[in-house]
Amino acid sequence: MSFLLRRLLQAIFLLIGVSILTFLFSTLAPGNYLDEMRLNPQISAATLASLRAQYDLNRPLPFRYARWVNAVAHGELGYSFAYNGPVAPLLWIRARNTLLLTLTAMLLAWALALPLGIWSAERRGHLPDRAISLATATLMVVPELVLALGLLILAARSGWFPTGGMVSVGFAELSRWGKLRDLAMHMALPVAALVLSALPILVRHIRAAVAEELGAPFFRAATAHGIPRRKLLYRYALRAAANPMISLFGFSVGTLLSASLLVEMVMSWPGLGPLLLEAILARDLYVVIGGVLFSTIFLVCGNFLGDLLLYWADPRIRTAGGAR
């Protein structure tokens, strides 16, 4: 219980730290939301000045931060300059869309990476391993951006998949099955891009971790006891190799909200990514801070999950008292 409490406290401190630093960075970054209006000849300096005042942009940083904290205390995340409205509802819907995408991608990536990594580790130095190594190396070389674009071109050329968005224009008119199919078709490309970019890293880590255990004495001992190969690999080796993999898993949960920024941009997936990037470029301060806080919360949860899993998977840590 005290363990949980301590993690919670740490999480709160982390959130405070992140919010303060984000505030700080945002002030250090040159320009502000109103700069674009500066280039609009229709808008006079007087109007700009009054807008600045309205948005508190000429107030000192601590004042703005205090205001924001106060708003958060009242369950609001601040106000979007660009959208002229509260931040929280803006973020919620997009966070949901992002999660739909990244969660699917993450599960799929792990589901693929585990057998591939283990197989590759088992056949270390043999043809399958080499083939997998080459494939992961190649995938790693291809930048995520180019990968996503390549998939898009493929979609455009072949016409098999839609080239972006989350649902078709006529989504509302479809049957339930049609809707599901439509969503799946739209998800196929971004998920593929995310899986392909995550896969090489996962496979390599899993391979490295499992390969280490395959030569371990306990593994040979278990072999000598005639435990079937499949069980050996998926239970003994995997379980023993869990430690680094759990860290990685915690990380992939933690980055669920932020991992897909580029892919969302390219595939015009209505997630947090495009919103945040646009907000950063437009200096829409509170949207950015809100978004960062959202992803921080996920990161905290991911780490927490990772710790819990580690605690569960490695009894040695457990007996050490969990004092970590």
Binding site: R220, H225, P315
Partner: protein
């Protein structure tokens, strides 16, 4: 002179051996292309219920022998030639599935270093249970029940606590007992124990040895007991085999090999025992100059006696060819030119 080869050696025994190894050659390949020979023509026979002690210094091929018998050599280990007949089956010809059945089933291996031979993140009960599950089709309940019985056999007290523990929560001796439980749970005909007590203190060693004695009786076990400590074999093994550089230096009944060794190597080996253990060999503790990496062993055909360089009784004949095992007295066989011809 009787040759140590083929069946003739056991004619006197008058029964089919449980395990018969013939002319086993094992080498380790390195990706650099060179390969090293770990076993160069080892042959042995074992009867049901018999205990064979295998004695040798580090690097003599003891562990390779154990691994080769169960075909769990590391990926770069290759059985070059030879035959391993066990229980009427040619093991080197079995497919992977058959081998899985035999390992831990009819033939079990007990690893050295009990602290590392157990999975660090699984409970003891689970690890024993997994072995049982691999070889039987028992229901969950039956598996659990039998696991409990097996554990009770090695841990008369505190059975339940130990069953629930993780390996790192146990003492060295307890871990060794868990390994034994894993090995005996499917009532094998043969257990290969690779220095099972090497890392234990003397008292625990004795306890484990005691346990083995009991189990040997109870389950009619044949045992191959690999060790570098001759003291453990006295009064425990039926016969002793001395390995040197992947070759059998000497083999014979325990008492004869330990108390009247013929091979210069055996003699040297026993000379470095602590005083008071072997009578007649109490002397100055002469430490063997073990030079790792001086390796006539990497050669398949050394063309000379592999011990020649370190031998105190060197003769000219030592370099003229590899000596063959010859019978010197009763069931005692030695590979040394001194006794040849």
């Amino acid at each position: 002179m009787e040759k140590w080869a083929g069946k003739d050696l056991f004619q006197g025994y008058g029964m089919t051996p449980l395990l018969e190894v013939q002319d086993l050659h094992v080498s380790y390949g390195a990706a650099s292309g060179k390969s090293g020979v770990a076993l160069a023509g080892v042959s042995l026979r074992l009867l049901a219920g018999e205990t064979l002690g295998v004695l040798g210094e580090s690097g003599s091929g003891k562990s390779t022998l154990a691994a080769a018998l169960l075909r769990i050599l590391p990926a770069n280990g290759i059985v070059e030639c030879g035959a391993v007949r066990f229980d009427g089956r040619e093991l080197l010809q079995c497919d992977a599935r058959e081998m899985e059945k035999i390992r831990g089933g009819r033939m079990a291996l007990i690893f050295q270093e009990p602290s590392q031979a157990l999975h660090p993140a699984l409970r003891v009960r689970q690890q024993v249970c997994d072995v049982l599950a691999a070889h039987t089709d028992l229901s969950r309940a039956a598996l659990r029940e039998r696991t409990g019985r097996v554990l009770a056999a090695v841990f008369p007290t505190e059975t339940e606590r130990i069953a629930r523990s993780y390996p790192h929560e146990l003492s060295g001796g307890q871990r060794a007992r868990v390994l034994i439980a894993q090995a005996i749970c499917c009532e094998p005909a043969l257990i290969v124990a690779d220095e099972p007590t090497a890392s234990l203190d003397a008292e625990t060693q004795m306890e484990i040895l005691q346990l083995f004695r009991r189990l040997r009786e109870e389950f009619k076990l044949a045992l191959i007991w690999i060790t570098h400590n001759p003291a453990l074999l006295a009064g425990f093994a039926d016969r002793v085999m001395i390995l040197y550089a992947g070759r059998v230096a000497e083999v014979g009944p325990t008492a004869e090999v330990l108390f009247s060794p013929r091979h210069p190597y055996t003699q040297a080996l026993l000379r470095c025992l602590p005083p008071g253990l072997g009578k007649g060999y109490v002397g100055r503790k002469t430490k063997l100059a073990v030079i790792p990496g001086v390796a006539p062993v990497t050669l398949r055909d050394a063309g000379r006696c592999v011990f020649e360089a370190r031998c105190s009784d060197r003769m000219d004949a030592c370099v003229s060819g590899e000596p063959e095992l010859v019978c010197v007295a009763g069931k005692q066989f030695v590979s040394c030119v001194k006794y040849a011809g």
